[in-house]
Each structure stands twice: as C-alpha cells, then as structure tokens.
C-alpha cells in the first residue's frame, strides 16, 4: 500500500506535477504548469468533500490522470467548435497535429483490423505492447512466463507488421 502523503497542497505540487507531465501528451507538455494547478484545484475540492480520505501517491496519480483527460476532452470540444467557426479559421486549433492524425488513422485502422485477425492470446499481448507496455509488464498482466510473453509479442509483431504492410501501410 502506498504511504500516506503530507496534506499541504504546496507539498503535493511536485509529485502532482510529475504525474501530470507523464500523463500529458506531447502537444500538451508545454502547459503542464497550468495542468498542475488544475489538478491541485481538483484535489483541493476532493479533500473538502472527503476530509478524511487517505492521501496516497496512487490517489494523486488518479487526480493527475483525470485532470489531463478532462483537459484533452475540453480541447477536443474546442477543436470541433473551431472547425465550424469562420472567425477562428486562421487560428491554429488546439490539439494534436491534424496531418499526423490523418496519416495515423489509416495505419491505425489497419493495425486494429490485423489485431482482430490475430489469435486471442497474441491479440491481447500485442494490444498491451502497442499501448506502451514492455514484455515483463505484459507477462505480469497476462500471467504468462516472461519467455512466453516475449515469444508471443515478438512473433506477433512480425506477423502484425506483415499484415499492416499487406494492407498498403508501412508504419
């Protein structure tokens, strides 16, 4: 169990900022100070609602995670609105680079199709790998030996790459 943390918000700023930095996608990284402030406000509100709550690093992490997700959703909504707003047409829309998104969407869809065609064991292991997990983490999460996870992932990636390339994408 995580140890309890000090309850002064100022003392919590640093670990919260670190968690926010990790959660934020690259296009939001310049705004981690603002996001940390939002996370502190969220934490302050939560502690007022539940003053006796046990304050652990895991809880701080969850605050950072939900703060960043909320901000991303807000930006996506702004982006959707900006698309219909003639006056804002010249301003850069908030959010990830649209060209990168367009390029990734075709290959991303091809990857998803190829995953669906894979054997169930490989499908889950590869999905975790594509989410950024390492082989040791995958072995733990899926309860495989490390060697089994390694074989599934690395053979699976070779097959996945071939499948994606057969669909006309070269990621």
């Amino acid at each position: 169990m995580s140890p309890e943390l000090p309850r002064t918000l100022a003392e919590l700023q640093r670990p919260l900022a670190a968690a926010v930095r990790k959660a934020a996608p690259s296009w939001l990284r310049d705004e981690t100070d603002d996001l940390t402030q939002l996370a502190l406000l969220r934490l302050d509100r939560a502690l007022k609602r539940e003053p006796d709550r046990r304050l652990t690093r895991a809880y701080l992490g969850r605050i950072a995670y939900t703060t960043v997700i909320d901000e991303i959703r807000k930006r996506r909504k702004e982006r959707e609105h900006a698309a219909f707003d003639v006056e804002s047409a010249d301003r850069p829309a908030p959010g990830p680079d649209p060209e990168r998104l367009a390029a990734g969407s075709g290959a991303g869809a091809a990857i998803t199709e190829c995953l669906e065609a894979a054997a169930p064991r490989a499908r889950d292991a590869l999905t975790l790998y594509l989410l950024g997990h390492s082989v040791p983490e995958i072995s733990k999460l899926l309860d495989h030996t490390r060697k089994t996870a390694e074989n599934i992932v690395y053979r699976g990636l070779t097959v996945l790459r071939r499948c994606v390339e057969a669909k006309g994408y070269r990621p």
Binding site: S2, P15, A19, R21, K22, A23, P25, R57, A58, L60, G61, R62, A64, Y65, T66, V68, I69, I72, R73, R76, P96, R100, L101, G104, S105, A107, G108, A109, I111, T112, L115, E116, R123, D124, T127, L128, Y129, L130, L131, G132, H133, S134, V135, P136, E137, K140, L141, L142, D143, T145, R146, K147, Y154, L157, T158, L160, R161, V164, Y169, P171
Partner: protein, 224 residues
C-alpha cells in the same frame, strides 16, 4: 530483438482519431487495469475496448504513464533470492518456458556452479547456484531522456558492476565501471545525439566479492 518498426506501430496505433469519449466508469476501470488490478476477464474486455475505441486506448496510455511515474507495482523488482535458482530440480523448473538454447546455457552454468555441501545420510547433497541479473526497471522497454536510469538485480554487498550501452547497430553509446549499486544514470550528453525511438541495448557485468564474474542477458529499450 525488438522488430524495428515496433515504435512506429505504437505511434500509428496511438494516432487513431477519437470518435467518442470513454465514460467515467471506463476511465476508472482503465486506471485499475493498467496497474494490474483487474481480473483476467475484466482485462480482456477492456483490451477489446482499447482496440475498438481510441479514447479508451488514450486513457490507458495515460494511466500507464502515471503508474510508471509513481512506480505502481505492475512488475515487482525481483529480489536477489528469487533469482538464485537452487538445485537441479529447481533450476529445471525455473527454466520451463525458455528456449532450448537458454536451457542448455543455464544447464552449463549450473554444472559450473555445482559444489558439494555436507554429506547427508551417507550420500552427497549437491547445491547449484545460478546468478541471474535481470533488468528490474518497472518499464523495462523504455529509457526516458528525462530520467535515464538503468536498474538491475542487486547481488551480494561488495559486488561491483559495469554497464555497457550500444545502439542496435552496436555503436557504443556509454559505458560505466566499478559501480557499487545496481543502478546507473546514463549521462545526458551520451544520449543527446540520439533521436527518439533509437533502440538501445544494454548489458551488465557483475564481479562478486569472491571474484566470480556474471553477465546479464542483453536488454533492449527504446529511447524517448
């Protein structure tokens, strides 16, 4: 060896456009599952949603990153004792699931380290010790520029470690020797010229207090 397009497959998977946002319950379920707190059924169901819904995948990546920062125990660092495989029956059990080459290599090493101990009941009990040095980084497949730390299994006090890092093209990146703790922070300037996505290979050599030397396997990790 990691297939060379793996980072790009990850990037393409991450670039799928979000069509619908995940609901609050899903976000909390993802938070738990990414740190290994979901049952096998919950995990399988969530991974299906990860494939179907890019917003769930996005939440998972964030949850994973935060758990990594706070070192939630998805993978525990293995204590030394668990890496010392004792006795023929035990080393064989430890080797199940490994390739035949690895098993043969382990067997050879085990034979080298078989030493007689006190006789029991007229026979001779045999004890075999195989020292295994594992990568104990929580997220073993990644080296972060902001925190380029390598960690590995701690061996008995007094052990000295050296570390060698190369690119996957075997170009030397950095090297350290005479380390007395099982971790090393890679100097930032050694990584400065390498682009994100570079696959780095690293290996540890340990010299025990009695002079015995042990090498780890070669670990790979992507620089980001």
């Amino acid at each position: 060896m990691t297939p060379d397009t793996a980072p790009d497959l990850r990037a393409a998977f991450a670039a799928r456009p979000v069509v619908a946002e995940a609901d609050e319950d899903t976000l909390q379920a993802v938070w738990r599952a990414a740190s290994g707190q979901a049952s096998a059924e919950e995990l399988a169901a969530l991974l299906q949603r990860v494939r179907d819904e890019p917003s769930v995948a996005e939440a998972w990546r964030m949850a994973r990153a935060v758990h990594e920062e706070f070192e939630e125990p998805v993978v525990e660092a293995a204590p030394v004792e668990s890496n010392v495989v004792r006795g023929p029956a035990h080393w064989w059990r430890g080797a199940t699931g490994m390739g035949i080459g690895t098993v043969m290599a382990m067997a050879a090493v085990a034979v080298m380290y078989v030493v007689p101990v006190e006789p029991v009941g007229g026979g001779v009990a045999m004890r075999a010790e195989v020292v295994r040095i594992e990568n104990t980084l929580l997220y073993a497949g990644v080296i972060e520029r902001s925190r380029p730390v390598l960690r590995w299994t701690a061996l008995p006090e007094g052990t000295s470690y050296s570390v060698t890092i190369t690119t996957d093209a075997l170009v030397s990146v950095a090297r350290a020797g005479a380390l007395d703790t099982p971790e090393w922070v890679i100097p930032a300037d050694a990584l400065a010229g390498l682009p994100d996505g570079t696959v780095l290979l690293w290996r540890v050599e340990a010299t025990l207090p009695d002079g015995a030397r042990h090498r780890s396997a070669t670990f790979d990790a992507v620089l980001r």
